[in-house]
C-alpha cells in the first residue's frame, strides 16, 4: 500500500486548531515513513503568505513554520489549489515554500490516487 494518505487542509489558519493539528498529523505520519501528501485549499492557502510575524505580535504559535519542516521529512511539496491562490491574490512567485499548483481537474486526479483521505 504505497498510495499516500492525503491530508487535506481547507480550514482557516488561526481561528481554530485545525491547521496546526493537520500539520502535526502530517509530520507524525511522515516520521514513521507512512507515505503522506499535504493539500491546501480555500482559506488554508493563506498559511503560505510570507512576511508574517505571529509569535512576536500576537503571542501565537506560527503554524507556517511547520510547512518548512516538510522537506526535512522527505515529503513532497504541498499541493495547492490554484483557484484558491488566485482568489486570495497570492502570487506563487513570492512564497517562501515550494508548492505544486494544481487546477481543479488535476486535484480530482490526485485525489483518485490516494487511498486514504483526512480532511481538516
Amino acid at each position: 500500500m504505497s498510495q499516500p494518505t492525503l491530508i487535506w487542509l481547507q480550514s482557516s489558519p488561526y481561528n481554530s486548531s485545525a491547521a496546526r493539528e493537520a500539520l502535526d498529523y502530517t509530520l507524525a505520519l511522515a516520521a514513521v515513513d507512512c507515505p503522506v501528501q499535504l493539500l491546501l485549499s480555500g482559506p488554508a492557502v493563506c498559511l503560505l503568505l510570507p512576511n508574517n510575524d505571529f509569535s512576536a505580535a500576537l503571542q501565537l504559535k506560527d503554524c507556517s513554520k511547520l510547512l518548512g519542516l516538510l522537506p526535512l521529512y522527505d515529503l513532497a511539496a504541498p499541493l495547492v489549489c490554484q483557484d484558491s491562490l488566485h482568489q486570495y491574490q497570492i502570487d506563487p512567485k513570492q512564497l517562501h515554500h515550494a508548492i505544486t499548483r494544481l487546477s481543479r481537474q488535476q486535484l480530482a486526479e490526485r485525489l483518485a490516487l490516494c487511498q486514504q483521505v483526512v480532511t481538516f
Binding site: A108, L111, V117
Partner: protein, 88 residues
C-alpha cells in the same frame, strides 16, 4: 468510486460538485440531511442520504435521492476507492 460524505446543512461550494464523477457517490449524513431541504443543482453522480439520520430529523427523502440503511453505508465504504469527509 469515491464515497463523499457531506455533513453540513448547506449546499457545498462549487469545488465539490466539480470533483464528483459519474461513478462517485454523495452521501448526506448528520446535519447534512437538512441540506435536502435546499435546492440542489443537478448532480453528475448518485446521491444518497443516511436513513437513520434523516428520520431522526423528521425529514423525508426527496426525488433524485435515495435513502440507505447503515448496512449499505458500510458496504459502500468497504467498496469505495476512498472515503472522504468533504470539508466546508
Amino acid at each position: 468510486m469515491k464515497l463523499v460524505h457531506w455533513i453540513y446543512p448547506e449546499l457545498p461550494a462549487q469545488p465539490l460538485l466539480s470533483q464528483l464523477a459519474p461513478q462517485d457517490l454523495l452521501l448526506l449524513r448528520q446535519d447534512g440531511c437538512y441540506s435536502l431541504l435546499l435546492d440542489w443543482p443537478q448532480l453528475p453522480c448518485r446521491s444518497l442520504v443516511l436513513a437513520t439520520d434523516l428520520k431522526a430529523r423528521g425529514l423525508n427523502v426527496k426525488a433524485a435521492w435515495q435513502s440507505i440503511e447503515d448496512s449499505v453505508w458500510v458496504e459502500l465504504a468497504a467498496q469505495a476507492s476512498q472515503v472522504v469527509l468533504w470539508p466546508k
